[in-house]
């Protein structure tokens, strides 16, 4: 089911965000050594499922490059995306043995994985890891709650604007660009199909398509092809999203 290939363990650690973000900063070198031992890389192609909901989950890890989604599905096929995993995001749950969601690679994807049991043992011995994971999980919880407002109370147009502004912001932070500079034109590639956007926003793909067209017609966004977006005025987009213009809810 999982056609992954392991990458060389000797691959440069700078590419592994968990080293940087979750562990490195405050750990002793022997702990880093131990982490190194249980670390491995996995590669997935666009469209591949990383893990199915309910599957036994034998690793935790984080996204090195590419984009993955967390999705829930009802018996009758209705689908809701509950998370968007960009580089540096953590996947998996220490203390839980089976996956709660489908994880799907939407682009080619590289993950940095740790075997779960050794990782958990290490977490027990290394306080900073649990503290760092707590911090990351609280951020995710905030993002999930912000998204509840989007899903429960925003119109289709506001939903699209919210999604675009999140992607713009996260894309900018990955590439270390500044999204809040006034007058700046922001440009990025949409990493999601219209259907994936619909699943994230609780809409149909037709409605997504219509609202994207409407935002383009109104000059809020510009499109080259279907995927390349430029945002001439970030403040305007945030207004359309229903957020206050000063950096917004997801700051």
């Amino acid at each position: 089911m999982l056609n992954e290939k392991s990458l060389s363990v000797s691959q440069d650690c700078n590419e592994c965000p968990i080293r940087h973000r979750a562990v490195c900063a405050r750990c002793e070198s022997d702990e880093l050594e131990r982490l190194e031992e249980i670390k491995y890389y996995r590669k997935f192609e666009a469209g591949q499922t990383v893990i199915w909901s309910g599957d036994r989950m034998e690793f935790v890890g984080s996204v090195v490059s590419g984009i993955a989604t967390l999705t829930q599905t009802m018996e009758d096929g209705r689908t809701q995306m509950v998370g968007l995993l960009l580089p540096s995001d953590f996947v998996g749950r220490p203390g839980r043995s089976s996956a709660a969601y489908d994880v799907v690679a939407t682009t080619d994807l590289v993950m940095c994985c740790f075997r779960k049991t050794p990782f958990e043992e290490m977490m027990m011995r290394t306080p900073h890891i649990a503290q760092r994971l707590l911090e990351m999980t609280l951020d995710e919880l905030d993002a999930a709650r912000e998204w509840m407002l989007v899903l429960g109370r925003k119109t289709a147009r506001e939903k699209i604007a919210s999604l675009l502004s999140i992607i713009a912001r996260r894309d900018a932070s990955i590439n270390m660009r500044d999204v809040s500079a006034p007058g700046e034109r922001i440009t990025f590639d949409l990493p999601l199909t219209r259907e994936a956007m619909a699943d994230y926003l609780g809409l149909t793909l037709e409605t997504v398509s219509r609202q994207v067209s409407a935002l383009r017609k109104d000059g809020v966004i510009e499109l080259e092809g279907k995927r390349h977006v430029t945002i001439p005025d970030m403040g305007r987009l945030l207004e359309e999203a229903g957020d206050d213009a000063d950096g917004g809810v997801f700051a």
Copy 2:
């Protein structure tokens, strides 16, 4: 703004869930002593706001008794509840100095609080606290994501059934009753007004009222007065919620 009264510190610790759930189980006695020193109780009346979004947050804590809600509000007044805090739930975020949501007591409420800075220092020194908080936060994240499916993809009727089944389950677990016993009639008081239910479900209060009436007419629930609910068949309710009947998504 906060008309709280501190309760005696000598109040029986059995009433303070964080002692049990977050700290006690694995801590040394001197750590418990230190926690005891920074602990205090606060009482709120139904309808009082515990803290406003954006306020400086000088404590973390957990609910001892009563019910509180976390809500977000847009500038134009649209409101979305993003969390329901029942006894034992943790509030606040180590490492963040201002509140991200309004916290409102919907019934009379007692909270067990810890001053934030000493709590954070203690967390640094006491690995089990961060580990326990991580576990609790991951549970909350799962609950938030389950709720995203409710908000994004369920019909009004399914939303009401989902809310009732969650409340039934949580109420049962607080009172140590078994909700999954087949044939068992389950009874509880709704702790939320129709408007609060609407804010949680992303609906209007009129729609909530209509769907509650419809579920009653169809025999899925029984009502005495407006608030006292009995569920003659939990499996039936879970079907109406769109969950699989075997314990459901929130198990």
